[in-house]
């Protein structure tokens, strides 16, 4: 049946996170990326079986004509939409929750400060995962479902906006009094904050019952979706890709090209999808192969934007391949990050990741406690992750550091 892969991945992650944390790795010391994946896994486990049974019923509908969904056989097409959205709404959280996790890593590392409201960000991921199951009906305000359901679904939809808002505010607050380093991954992280905010605000808009009647199934929704999924997920993934590139491949990418590409992607993205917001509000329906003359200008603008976006993405592909072949060897911890995968391991992890199971004694973003990142002293690490004139950062020998504050 469909989706076994997602289900088992989800189960695997949850069990690993619950049962196989390194010694000292309390829930409060879990990197937020892991929290993001944990929330994602919950959604995968709970939602995927429903799309599985929906598929089975659809196949039986086609072969045996069981008449659950097909109105010609006495079924109800709106019921199908319930089945579909019970999976498909949570499914978008499968895409965005890991992005939230990546973003927390990027913001913390490149502003070298502890994530503001760690607990709020961690728990809001789980809250979003759970609430995500209660709002599927907001895709159905004009589909023929009962008005009372629409009202309830709309109300709960706003509740989801709040944890997302909390995250944005906390990330911005993390920048405060940090030490901000504008490398490519950080550029993506900052673009995310801007684009995802637009995605969130337009999300509130389409959650408004009466306004949604106008905006439903128009380009506004298309644009909202892309601001969340592309401006959110994809941008965060690009940031994450650059961030972990040295860890994955052992090579560095070209920083200048990286920054140019990040700029192109940001400009191209907005040029592509902002006109679509306007188009949608003006009444351009989605899934149209053909459109009326009056929508032509904005459509053309959007098309031009997509070229810019495409140029940016191809540039990334280009220098990524180049880096694989000719890239500079990556140092062990080029960003001065403090999470486990950057410290305590070689540049490219060996088969078991760690030669010895690490003992965790502080939070993931406690840079002020992370002496090993700074080579045991202050002010000696270079922007490229190398100690000034002293070669690569060494894996420090066991230097017991102060226990983490539990308040993190």
């Amino acid at each position: 049946m469909t989706g076994f892969a997602s289900i088992f991945t989800g189960i695997n992650f949850i069990v690993t996170i619950h049962k196989m944390r390194a010694p000292g790795m309390t829930w409060n010391r879990l990197p937020l990326f892991v929290w993001g994946l944990y929330a994602t896994s919950i959604v995968q486990v709970l939602a995927t079986p429903v799309i599985g049974i929906t598929m089975v019923l659809l196949i039986l509908e086609q072969t045996l004509q069981i008449g659950i969904f097909d109105p010609a056989l006495g079924g109800d097409p709106v019921l199908f939409q319930h089945f579909f959205w019970f999976y498909s709404h949570p499914a978008v959280y499968i895409m965005i929750l890991p992005a939230f996790g990546i973003l927390s890593e990027l913001i913390a590392t490149f502003s070298r400060s502890r994530i503001f409201g760690y607990r709020a960000i961690a728990l809001s991921s789980v809250a979003i995962a759970m609430l995500g199951f209660l709002v599927w009906g907001h895709h159905m305000f004009v589909s023929g479902q009962s008005v009372i359901s629409s009202i309830i679904f709309s109300l709960i939809t706003y509740l989801i906006g709040i944890p997302s808002g909390i995250k944005i505010f906390n990330w911005v607050a993390t920048l405060y009094k940090g030490s901000i380093w504008l490398q490519t991954p950080m550029l993506y992280a900052l673009s995310f904050l801007f684009l995802f905010s637009i995605g969130g605000f337009t999300g509130i808009m389409v959650g408004v019952l009466s306004v949604d009647v106008h905006l439903h199934d128009t380009y506004y929704v298309v644009s909202h979706f892309h601001y969340v999924m592309m401006g959110g997920s994809v941008i965060a993934l690009l940031g994450g890709m650059h961030y972990w590139w040295p860890k994955i491949t052992g090579k560095m990418y070209n920083e200048t090209l990286g920054k140019i590409a990040a700029g192109l992607v940001f400009i191209g993205f907005n040029l592509t999808f902002f006109p679509q917001l306007v188009l949608g509000a003006k009444g351009m329906p989605r899934r149209y192969a053909n459109y009326l003359e009056r929508y032509a200008d904005l459509h053309q603008l959007s098309t031009v934007g997509s070229w810019v976006l495409g140029a940016g993405l191809f540039l990334i592909l280009g220098y990524a391949l180049w880096s694989l072949a000719y890239g500079e060897e990556a140092p062990q911890n080029p960003w001065g990050a403090a999470t486990l995968e950057w410290t305590n391991v070689a540049a490219i992890p060996s088969h078991h990741n760690f030669t010895r199971t690490p003992l965790v004694t502080r939070g993931p973003y406690d840079f002020h406690l992370a002496d090993e990142v700074f080579g045991g002293g202050d002010g000696e690490i270079g922007g490229d992750g190398k100690l000034d004139g002293k070669g690569e950062v060494q894996v420090p020998d066991a230097v017991p550091s102060a226990p983490a504050e539990e308040t993190a």
Partner: protein, 329 residues
Amino acid sequence: MGDFWLPEAASSIAPEVDGLFLFVTSVSLLLLAGVTGAIIYFVSRYRRQHPGERPAPVKESRALEISWIVVPTILVLLVFNWGFKSYVKMNTTPSGTYEIQVRAQQWNFLFEYPNGVTSDTLYVPEGEEVKMKMSSSDVLHGFYIPAFRVKYDVLPNRYTSVWFEPTKQGDYDLFCTEYCGTGHSDMNKVVRVVSQNEFQQWLEQKATPKDIPLPQLGERLYTQQGCQGCHSLDGSRKTGPSFQGLYGRTNHKMTDGSSVTVDENYLRQSILKPEERIVDGYQNVMPGSYSSLSEQELSGLVEFIKEQSDKDPPAGDAPAQAATGQGAN
């Protein structure tokens, strides 16, 4: 700002929706400006000065955390309440509204008025509450008039309805918003808001006289029933075969390999039970709903199709085409 974002507002509910839209947009822009401003300020103020910088951790502020939970909650509840009220209003049809039937099918809307007049342009009187009672004869469709800010799905086997009160004369767009097949993006119509007097005149003029000649009745039905969506009169190929030169054609190939002579019987059959014989090269997509046409209407359509073979064959084109058609088959 309203003009930049929204289309013309031409119904009684539109100002309410627009007000809410613009309110949410303004608040969002304000917040977005705040967030962006903060990001830019922090980035420039706290840029890393030297590589080994280790800033002291910032103390968390519970008050701040709580404030950005509480304030947005209040804002969204306000917006919810507003949207909820106008949504209920949109979904509650006032009593005594003028009712127009909407029949949606792939890929056409047909509007039927209480006196039996059918039209494929939606005429509505200005300043009167109108209810659209909608049903679909095949798949899901969506009924959307941007200028009126109304939209609702059209379901097969279940009536749904929307109501609106047009407040401004003019022509507006009507779209299908639920993906319904290849012709989806061409499934749009014109809504014409006219004064009440004009509306009455139009209704009377459109009402079919009892003694109308059959071919003329057929011509009316050709547009009203939406035949023109799939069957052209100029020989061009659409979803279905063109009517030009159709009547009288012999050796008309079917998908099952047989061939027929196009006579009155064949035409009647094809209208009533289109699925029985499919012309070679075409799909079985014609709706079965035409079986409800009256006997007179059927004869009218057949006569009208007949005329498409008789009238001014453009310089021997029609017979030639029939001949090549045969040759090709």
